[in-house]
């Protein structure tokens, strides 16, 4: 009986530690947000920011202000992916636009 109680307690402890590890922290959010902002800034220097990137960044900030760091990190990562896609677009279009030209 005592062994079973130890086992259950250990399992609960492990589960608790695992969920604490999985939950995003403020520091994780700050790192994810900074990466997204940097990518969006690069898109800005290419004159090709997307409105959806700005929306994802705003959603990340709002979630962080409400203390929901999981959501804030997810939105930051979405913003970073969108910003990187806009950078790719601007870079590839440097030559690709010519294919659309009326000749």
């Amino acid at each position: 009986m005592r062994t079973a109680a130890y086992l259950v307690t250990s399992m609960l402890l492990i589960a608790g530690a695992a969920s604490a590890l999985a939950a995003g922290s403020e520091a994780d959010f700050k790192a994810a947000y900074a990466a997204a902002e940097a990518a969006n800034k690069e898109a800005g220097s290419l004159r090709n920011q997307w409105t959806v990137t700005a929306s994802a960044l705003a959603a990340a900030k709002k979630a962080a202000d409400a203390g929901d760091f999981d959501k804030a990190i997810a939105s930051s990562k979405e913003a970073e992916a969108l910003a990187k896609a806009s950078i790719f677009q601007a870079t590839s279009e440097k030559e690709a636009w010519k294919a659309l030209e009326i000749r």
């Binding site: 004159r47 409105t51 959806v52 601007a90 636009w97 659309l100 030209e101």
Partner: protein, 286 residues
């Protein structure tokens, strides 16, 4: 001896390639506005053989008979009339220093819309009519108007009205900076942007006459001749700046600031390739 012959042949072949390939590459990349404008007009007149060249300035209303009838009926009581009256009044009213818009423009600002935008050699940049109007205001101690709101639309509506029927006459002077501005405008027009991955050409070259939701897309040829426009969708007037910035946001791209170099160059390109088509502004659109 054989290897010497091989070497000499290879060198000759390389030299021949260099002489033929290089001029070709340069020629292919060098902008040719005259050829562009010709190809632009050919493209649209072949795509819409029933539309008369001068009718392209009516945008979606030129695309089919039903829409053309709608436009004719609309012109009986045009929705831009209030703006036109406001523009006329504003244009005539002197600034606080006693001068007026007429003092800033050739021919006192009457019948000159078709010459804008132009390349300003002193500044080394394109100057649009909207920009010239605000510069006129600022030079006379008045605050600049928003480029996307009613006052600017009213002023340009009046100036376009006094120029109705005059063909676009945009000049590209013999100045590499002017040619570069033209080429930048062309590149902007064809470059895909925004999350929807659309360029201006996606709607106005590849799919004019088709519907995007409930709207019929206008052809790029003559698209600026009717500006500014009253848009039912906006329930109000819109300037060229408003049109460019909203196009960008509609495809989920962050718009640039009105009258940024890219937009000025885009206006230069689009106006140039519509040279010869009459000014029809102010216009009305669904």
């Amino acid at each position: 001896m054989r290897s010497v012959i091989h070497f000499a042949s290879a060198a000759l072949a390389l030299a021949a390639l260099a002489f033929t390939a290089v001029p070709f590459a340069v020629a292919a990349d060098k902008p040719d506005p005259v050829a562009d404008a010709k190809a632009f007009k050919n493209f649209f007149t072949q795509k819409f053989p029933k539309v008369k060249l001068e009718d392209f300035v009516n945008g979606p209303y030129s695309m089919n008979e039903d829409m053309h009838r709608q436009w004719e009926e609309k012109e009986q009581f045009p929705p831009y009339e209030f703006s036109l009256d406001m523009g006329k009044e504003m244009f005539a009213k002197p600034f606080k220093n006693g001068k007026s818009y007429a003092d800033c423009f050739p021919n006192k600002g009457i019948g000159i819309r078709q010459n804008y935008p132009y390349f300003d050699a002193g500044e080394g940049k394109v100057v649009t009519l909207e920009l010239a109007l605000n510069r006129c205001r600022e030079a006379n101690g008045e605050p600049a108007f928003s480029y996307v709101k009613d006052e600017m639309a009213a002023l340009t509506a009046y100036m376009a009205f006094t120029s109705r029927g005059k063909p676009f006459d945009i000049k590209i002077p013999d100045d590499p900076r002017a040619l570069e501005a033209y080429q930048n405008g062309k590149r902007y027009f064809y470059t895909r942007r925004g999350q929807l991955n659309f360029s201006c050409a996606t709607c106005h070259v590849q799919t004019p006459g088709e519907r995007i939701r409930a709207e019929v897309l206008a052809p790029a040829l003559g698209i600026l001749n009717a500006m500014p426009i009253y848009r039912s969708e906006w329930s109000g007037m819109g300037t060229i700046s408003r049109r460019f910035t909203t196009c960008n946001s509609q495809i989920r791209g962050v718009p640039l600031n009105p009258q940024d170099d890219e937009y000025r160059d885009l206006e230069y390109y689009l106006s140039y390739v519509s040279n010869g088509l009459p000014i029809s502004g102010p216009g009305a659109r669904p």
